[in-house]
Amino acid sequence: MVFQIRIGVKFCGNCNPLIACKKLFQEIKKEILKADLYIEFSSWESPNIDLLLVISGCPVDCATRPDQKITEIVVAGETIDGYYCNKVTLPKEVSRKLLEYQNCLIVRGNKLF
């Protein structure tokens, strides 16, 4: 069985970013294609997202969160979930975390393949 996961994407406001957030997101999408993950990206405000990918330009990570509590993977400058990660390897590392998440996923009936 394969599960598709729906990921909301939230950027910070990029007031003075240490990383190129938009470019990073494009590279994450390429890594996901390579890794053959079943992922659909949508707005961070969508009600049915499984996970929130936050991409903040620096470790302050001031990006607004949605009202409902949801699992997050947070890129904040050169960190993922608080741990240092060189900006060159960020896309691969995010993709690896998404694969980890997919492997212990909550089943959603209408996303079952």
Binding site: F11, N16, K22, C62
Partner: protein
């Protein structure tokens, strides 16, 4: 919310009366003198549509619950105040120039809290007018020019003492429909490419100055309104491309002298009329909100200056010299210091009785006073590193000339792998961003340095500091 293009298109339907260089300009939107400022202002709209900027450029309205452009928002907490500063830096990093919309933003916030307090004292209805006006701005996403500064005439005399009574804007007539105002507002940033004007008094007033205690909103093209566009250093460069430096967004905001010839204002757009004892409060609140900005907006501008300086150091082949690196460190240090000040005055903000949040006034004035000095130093260092070529570059026409161009290209070379035109462009960007008008705006925008010094002394709590010193010196009783 509007897109950048929708904003630009919306200006075309206005009947704004603009004069420049002795001529009436019919198509001001596309005129080379004005178009860069239109482009800069359009970024306040355009970036609100982009996912990587929407977190700062947009916010939920406390009046309607709708998502709005932050420039039409009334600050509801310290996060809003801090996000405002971050937003300004983010936009400045994209434009390298003033985008004008913050003056109106600060005007509506200052009036929102002041009208609440006027109503409490005088049982007037100004706060309701203001709330309706803010809702209107949020729904239309209109751009407002915050019109505070009067021409002032003899600065040693009060408004009512001036030989020419029109040197400060005043009410000349009132009836049951509304009021009529006359005078002018100077240094009006972004006036010619705004939708509305928010008139405010510029000084604290006495009872004799009652007629000058007026705050109201008028359409930018209301009958009787004339805008006379101001000159800038090197403004004829706007008819060039590369020599302009920042060809897309220009330098500073594009300021005008706005004349108000007996302009009618309906009562529902009047927010103060005769309540002279609140003029000082309004001026002070507006000034502090506006001084709050400079670490953000000039922080972003300095980011570009630093980037250009670093680039030219690389192009000149001197980037690794220790004194160059140290000078760039100093530029970053000064920039982040003013940014610190903006963040500090925002994080230490507090609620007003109206519920709107206000910055820490002492720290806001410290912020702006620092900017009046530090930006000159940042620019001085950029000139130091860039070299004298900054002031002697041939024209772009020579750069592109079929016969002369090869000489310019050959002798403008820095390090061999960098094309001469790239070095030329960076030098022009630096030249235009760090000279003349840009520096003067940083000095006097949001009030001249002495105005900040007056506020700092007033807020500085000297008596308390003296008491602390006396205690430690053993002069006061320890139980005092």
């Amino acid at each position: 919310m509007r897109t950048g293009q929708e904003y630009i298109d919306s200006l075309r339907s206005l009947k704004t009366v603009v004069y420049a260089f002795g001529e009436k300009i019919d198509n001001f939107v596309d005129h080379p003198l004005i178009r860069p400022h239109v482009n800069a202002a359009s970024m306040t709209y355009q970036l609100s549509q982009e996912p990587e900027f929407e977190d700062l450029l947009t916010v939920k309205s406390h009046l309607t619950g709708q998502t709005i452009n932050r420039f039409t928002h009334i600050h509801q907490n310290t996060k809003d105040l801090v996000d405002k500063v971050k937003m300004l830096r983010a936009i400045s990093q994209q434009t390298g120039s003033c985008y004008q919309r913050c003056v109106g933003f600060d005007g509506i916030n200052a009036l929102y809290s002041t009208t609440y307090e006027i109503d409490k004292k005088y049982a007037t209805n100004y706060h309701q007018h203001m709330k309706h006006y803010v809702k209107h701005l949020q729904e239309t996403d209109n751009m407002v020019v915050g019109a505070m500064t009067d021409p002032k005439g003899d600065r040693g005399l009060r408004p009512s003492q001036q030989e020419d009574p029109d040197l400060y804007v005043r009410v000349v007539d009132k009836n049951d429909q509304g009021i009529v105002i006359r005078g002018a507002k100077a240094h009006q940033t972004g006036a010619v490419n705004s939708h509305e004007i928010l008139i405010m008094p510029t000084v604290a007033l006495t009872e004799e100055d009652k007629d000058y205690a007026v705050a109201c909103a008028i359409p930018i093209d209301a009958p009787g309104v004339i805008h006379i566009f101001g000159r800038q250093s090197n403004d004829t460069r706007k008819f060039d491309e590369i020599d302009q430096g920042n060809a897309c967004f220009g330098v500073v905001g594009g300021e005008a002298l706005t004349v108000l010839n007996d302009v009618f204002v309906p009562w529902n757009k009047v927010f103060m009329c005769g309540e002279y004892d609140f003029a000082g409060t309004l001026v002070e609140r507006f000034a502090c909100y506006h001084r709050q900005n400079y670490g953000g907006c000039k922080g972003g501008v300095c980011d570009i200056i630093i980037g250009a300086t670093s680039a030219i150091a690389n192009m000149n082949g001197v980037a690794q010299a220790s004194h160059i690196r140290d000078k760039i460190v100093e530029m970053i240090h000064l920039t982040e210091t003013v940014y610190c000040c903006s963040v500090a005055c925002s994080s230490q903000g507090r609620p007003t009785p109206s519920g709107a949040y206000y910055v820490d006034p002492l720290l806001a004035n410290v912020c702006k006073l620092n900017v009046t000095r530090f930006i000159y130093e940042v620019c001085r260092i950029s000139h130091d590193i860039a070299g004298g070529i900054l002031a002697t570059l041939p024209s772009e026409k020579d750069l592109k000339h079929p016969e002369i161009g090869p000489y310019v290209n050959k002798y403008l070379k820095g390090v061999s792998k960098v094309p001469s035109e790239e070095r030329y462009r960076i030098l022009r960007l630096l030249e235009n961003m760090t000279g003349g008008t840009a520096l003067v705006e940083s000095m006097h925008g949001a009030g001249s340095p002495q105005a900040q010094r007056v506020m700092i002394l007033r807020q500085g709590n000297l008596a308390h500091k003296e008491k602390l010193a006396r205690k430690l010196a053993g002069i006061e009783n320890n139980n005092d």
